[in-house]
């Protein structure tokens, strides 16, 4: 049963990857839709970022002084000025570790 569930889940997931690429003719999308599609990264990724920063493992809002919030702010500032992916991630992680291992100990 579990195997069948994996295969069905896999088919659905593959379909979500493939449908717009292989089945839909781009001319079917209007100019307005294409314009809105420019915002897909801006519309999708914050929905992964915000809960990851502002919720804890149990799904509750974190305190305003949570280390993750400071880590995210530092990553944001570093990323904004450096325009560098690795600097963004590393600065966020290092500042987060600095807070949880040194400041909070």
């Amino acid at each position: 049963m579990t195997w069948i569930s994996i295969i069905i889940s896999g088919i659905i997931t593959y379909f979500s990857r493939m449908a717009m690429v292989a089945l839909i003719d781009r001319d079917m999308l209007g100019a307005k839709v294409k314009e809105v599609l420019n915002y897909v990264p801006a519309a999708v990724f914050p929905a992964i970022i915000f809960p990851g920063v502002f919720f804890n493992d149990f799904g509750y809002l974190v305190e305003p002084i949570d280390p993750k919030i400071y880590g995210a702010i530092i990553a944001l500032v570093v990323g904004f000025y450096s325009r560098n992916v690795i600097a963004t991630i590393v600065s966020g992680l290092l500042s987060y570790w600095f807070i949880i291992f040194f400041l909070l100990k």
């Binding site: 579990t2 069948i4 569930s5 994996i6 069905i8 889940s9 896999g10 659905i12 997931t13 593959y14 979500s16 990857r17 493939m18 449908a19 717009m20 690429v21 292989a22 839909i24 781009r26 307005k32 314009e35 809105v36 599609l37 915002y39 897909v40 990264p41 801006a42 519309a43 999708v44 990724f45 914050p46 929905a47 992964i48 970022i49 915000f50 809960p51 990851g52 920063v53 502002f54 919720f55 493992d57 799904g59 993750k68 880590g71 995210a72 990553a75 944001l76 990323g79 904004f80 325009r83 992916v85 690795i86 963004t88 991630i89 590393v90 966020g92 992680l93 987060y96 570790w97 949880i100």
Partner: protein, 228 residues
Amino acid sequence: MLSKSKIFVKGTIAVLPHMLSVIPFGIITGAIGVELGFDPLLVYATSLIIFGGASQIIFMQLLSGGASSLIAITSVGVINSRHLLYGAVLSEYLEKLSFLKKLIISYFIVDQGFAESNKYIKQNSNISNPHYYILGTGVTLWLCWQLSTISGIILGSFIPEELGLKFAIPLTFLAIVVNDLRKLDHVFVMLVSGFASLILFDAPFKSYIILSPIVALSAAFIMLRLKR
């Protein structure tokens, strides 16, 4: 003119920084599956057949917690439906390919690969083989995901939990969108999406992952109309 292999390698290099979150996440996914009591082969099959980090963990957690297959499958479908949006964007660059090539490339469409490809292709609209860039990002992420889940299955979660490496996941995605903070219209859409996700977080089947983008894209649509 860049050769196909050079474009592929450029895609590979573009996603390498994201390994900081992909590899630990993969190890955790493999380890959790085994800890929940699933057969190692079955845990690995989720990486090969479903190939979608968060959805794999939710899938296994639901089933081991006694949820019905229907609920587990629905959750995977809802979480992964965001790929429809990636496909809609990428289809512009894949239009000219044969149907078979489209089918193959589709399997490799992943969050970070989509984001990096979209950024690169927008900035280099003159390249003739943009799909090699998409493949470069996708195949690299795929390979690292397979290897890291396998090592998690075999070795367990050997990364200390105290490190809080889960936090690398929001950071990776922050690194993806941070450049767009220079554009006010994008900032507006991001804030709508972010706050929508906090409000909708408890919606069933983790549907905040697709509902928040829908809310944000609707806001973008209204914004574009008002601008005119």
